[in-house]
């Protein structure tokens, strides 16, 4: 069983990677990778009152989602979406746990509203007016694979275009010691069921058993294994190189995702 989708647009933000164009240059070997702390822009799509309430995870997800839909030249309100993250907003979670460990226990209502795993999907829908289906997933280190599988299944079965957003941010201490994600990384893809003028590549996906591909550059490989959302990098490297080929992406400890990539240009 092969699932097929076309990639129409990409967004990326991570340590030392300011956008997809910069990341593509690094992944294709045209530029050196210089790791640096991820810089998250303020989500200008949101009304000021909502913008003030957003944490790092929302800023990250909205930034890459916006870059992907802009580059695909698509109205984001028309897209279904799949958001996937291994842990949600770690700083918000830490603040809630601290306030629950104190007496008297006083929880901020905004922090509680923002503690839901679908916080970024909710703000994205508010920012863009997208009223279609939106799914929000977690599969720990397999979260990118789960998101891509869900997204491509939805594109294939429902026959509609979709925005996939994968993102992770760090926890502060003391949870950081138990879940040491070093920094924020997000990637977004606009996927469509049929080839369009904006289509960059065709992806075919099958489940397989083989080991996941690794990246040759040790710094990029460190990024791939240290932040779950960055497990997408072997796929994005193929797209950056704009060449046909296959790659195996990390997923669960059993199944992996075998991808066949064919550029459209």
């Amino acid at each position: 069983m092969t699932l097929v989708a076309y990639v129409n647009g990409l967004g990326l933000l991570g340590p030392g990677l300011a956008n997809w164009r910069d990341a593509a240059a690094v992944l294709s070997g045209k530029a050196d990778y210089a790791p640096a702390p991820t810089v998250l822009p303020s989500p200008m799509q949101l009304p000021p009152a909502e913008r003030r309430r957003t944490g790092r995870v929302v800023k990250l997800a909205l930034a890459v989602a916006c870059e992907a839909t802009t580059s695909a030249d698509v109205d984001p309100a028309t897209l279904a979406s799949v958001f996937t993250s291994s842990g949600g907003d770690g700083h918000n979670c830490h603040e809630l746990c601290e306030s629950l460990a104190r007496q008297p226990r006083e929880v901020s209502p905004t922090r509680f509203s923002n503690s839901v795993h679908n916080v970024a999907a909710g703000y994205w829908s508010i920012a863009t007016g997208a009223r279609g289906p939106s799914n929000v997933l977690c599969a720990f280190d397999a979260s990118f694979g789960a998101g891509l599988l869900e997204a491509m299944t939805q594109v294939a079965v429902d026959g509609e275009s979709l925005l996939l957003v994968a993102y992770d941010t760090e926890y502060p201490e003391p949870i950081h010691a138990k879940r040491p994600i070093p920094d924020a990384f997000g990637a977004a893809l606009v996927l469509t069921p049929h080839r369009q003028r904006a289509s960059l590549a065709r992806i075919g996906l099958e489940l397989c058993d083989g080991p996941a591909d690794v990246l040759q550059d040790p710094r990029l490989e460190r990024l791939r294994v240290s932040i779950p959302a960055a497990r997408c990098l072997p796929l994005l490297r193929r797209l950056a190189l704009n060449e046909s080929g296959t790659t195996v992406l990390d997923y669960l400890d059993g199944p992996r995702l075998a991808l066949k990539i064919e550029p459209c240009a």
């Binding site: 746990c97 509203s113 999907a121 979260s143 079965v157 669960l252």
Partner: protein
């Protein structure tokens, strides 16, 4: 807005089970529904000091996970394990699973807070000097949202696609959509879907901070309703593509509809726009008209705003005659487990011919135009629509029914 699609293919619900404060398993749940019994009681959970009622499942603390899965030990996974053991469900699905390649069986579970109670407790036991969490605190197996799906796939040795859907209170309705699509795509042959959410401080204090929880057992659609009662539950269903020679008393998932409000993080759209879109999409997917639905299991949280907006949406789609009720007066709002719990209630309604009347509701708010049932109706029920809506403006409607 989007082109209308042909109906989706029905999916067989081969087996299902649910455990909540009104009963462990389907038989006890049915008995409580027939007796009009609520499981909500004044909150005595953990160290919680809030004047509220909760639907606590008895005996969760005493459940032991299999020894080799100790890293998953937390209230949420104990509740999952307790629910698996009811109704012969574990044996049923082990038998069903043997018929398929375990690599082609999916595990899709909804939860909102997973095992975060472990982290809340661990934060009270931080090292006084370094601030570190206790050495035995296990993040991946407990706190992380995926832990319940990961527990179940290890417990049942299922090696196919697996994930948690965490869309607040719509989480475990949406897992049915994911399973249906993967079955339709031919990626899998069967799926364990469900929802597991357990009591924790984050939700009890969080809903209290938003002034969305009631001091009394919650009263959906009542004129004096003043908020939710939080409950906990685990509910599961085993889904497969229907065989050619299906029994006429089979129960099918006929359609799923999903939508987003695009309105507010913690308040529903005032006219129930997203809810209406989800119900209409579910009817389209099932190839049914509004008149084909016999009973609606409402989201019915008992907050003033939810019930008002849901009633408007239901009236817009169904008019004011299709009977509906919320079972949250009995079970409490089980958050990420509500979709799956109420899917099992829908299956019970069909299998045993009962539309459960909503308990705790003394006087239905006359401004709510949807037809709200307060008394049980023992009538044949062929098709049920079940609503689940969540923070972030995420909506999901499921339709279950008999074949044909």
């Amino acid at each position: 807005m989007r082109p209308s699609r042909p109906p989706t293919n029905p999916i067989l619900v081969r087996s299902c089970t649910a455990s909540s404060c009104i009963g462990l398993g389907v038989t006890q749940t049915l008995e409580s529904l027939l007796a009009g019994r609520s499981g909500l009681k004044a909150c005595e959970f953990e160290s919680v000091a809030i004047d509220t009622c909760v639907g606590e499942v008895p005996g969760v603390d005493g459940v032991a996970l299999p020894g080799e899965l100790a890293k998953f030990d937390c209230r949420n996974n104990r509740l999952a394990e307790l629910a698996l053991r009811q109704d012969g469900f574990l044996e049923d699905i082990e038998r069903a699973a043997r018929r398929w390649d375990p690599r082609r069986i999916g595990v899709f579970i909804g939860t909102s807070t997973s095992g975060i109670l472990q982290t809340e407790i661990a934060y009270r036991h931080r090292d006084p000097v370094t601030g570190a969490l206790p050495a035995d605190f296990e993040y991946a197996g407990t706190h992380n949202s995926f832990s319940v799906a990961d527990y179940l796939r290890h417990r049942l040795r299922l090696d196919g696609p697996a994930m948690v859907v965490s869309c607040a209170c719509a989480s475990s309705a949406k897992v049915f959509a994911s399973a249906q699509r993967m079955l339709e795509a031919g990626l899998i042959d069967a799926a364990l879907v469900g929802g597991v959410d357990s009591l924790c401080l984050t939700t009890l204090y969080g809903f209290h901070s938003l002034q969305l929880s009631s001091g009394l057992p919650c009263r959906p659609f009542d004129i004096a309703r003043d908020g939710i009662s939080i409950g906990e539950a685990a509910a599961f269903a085993w889904l497969e593509r229907p065989p050619g020679n299906m029994d006429s008393d089979s129960i099918l998932l006929l359609g799923v509809g999903e939508s987003s409000d695009a309105h507010h993080m913690s308040a529903p759209h005032p006219e129930g726009l997203g809810a209406r879109l989800a119900m209409q999409a579910a009817l389209r997917a099932a190839g049914l008209d509004a008149g084909d639905i016999d009973y609606i299991n409402l989201h019915g949280t008992a907050t003033p705003s939810n019930d008002r907006s849901e009633s408007q949406a239901v009236t817009a789609v169904f008019g004011a005659t299709t009977p509906g009720s919320s079972t949250k007066g009995a079970t409490g709002h089980t958050l990420g487990a509500a979709g799956a719990l109420e899917a099992v209630v829908s299956a019970i309604a069909i299998r045993f011919g009962v539309m459960p009347g909503g308990v705790n509701t003394a006087r239905v708010d006359p401004t709510l135009t949807a037809h709200y049932l307060r008394e049980n109706r023992r009538v044949p029920v062929r098709r049920v629509l079940s609503n689940s809506f969540g923070f972030g403006g995420t909506n999901c409607s499921l339709i279950f029914g008999r074949p044909g």
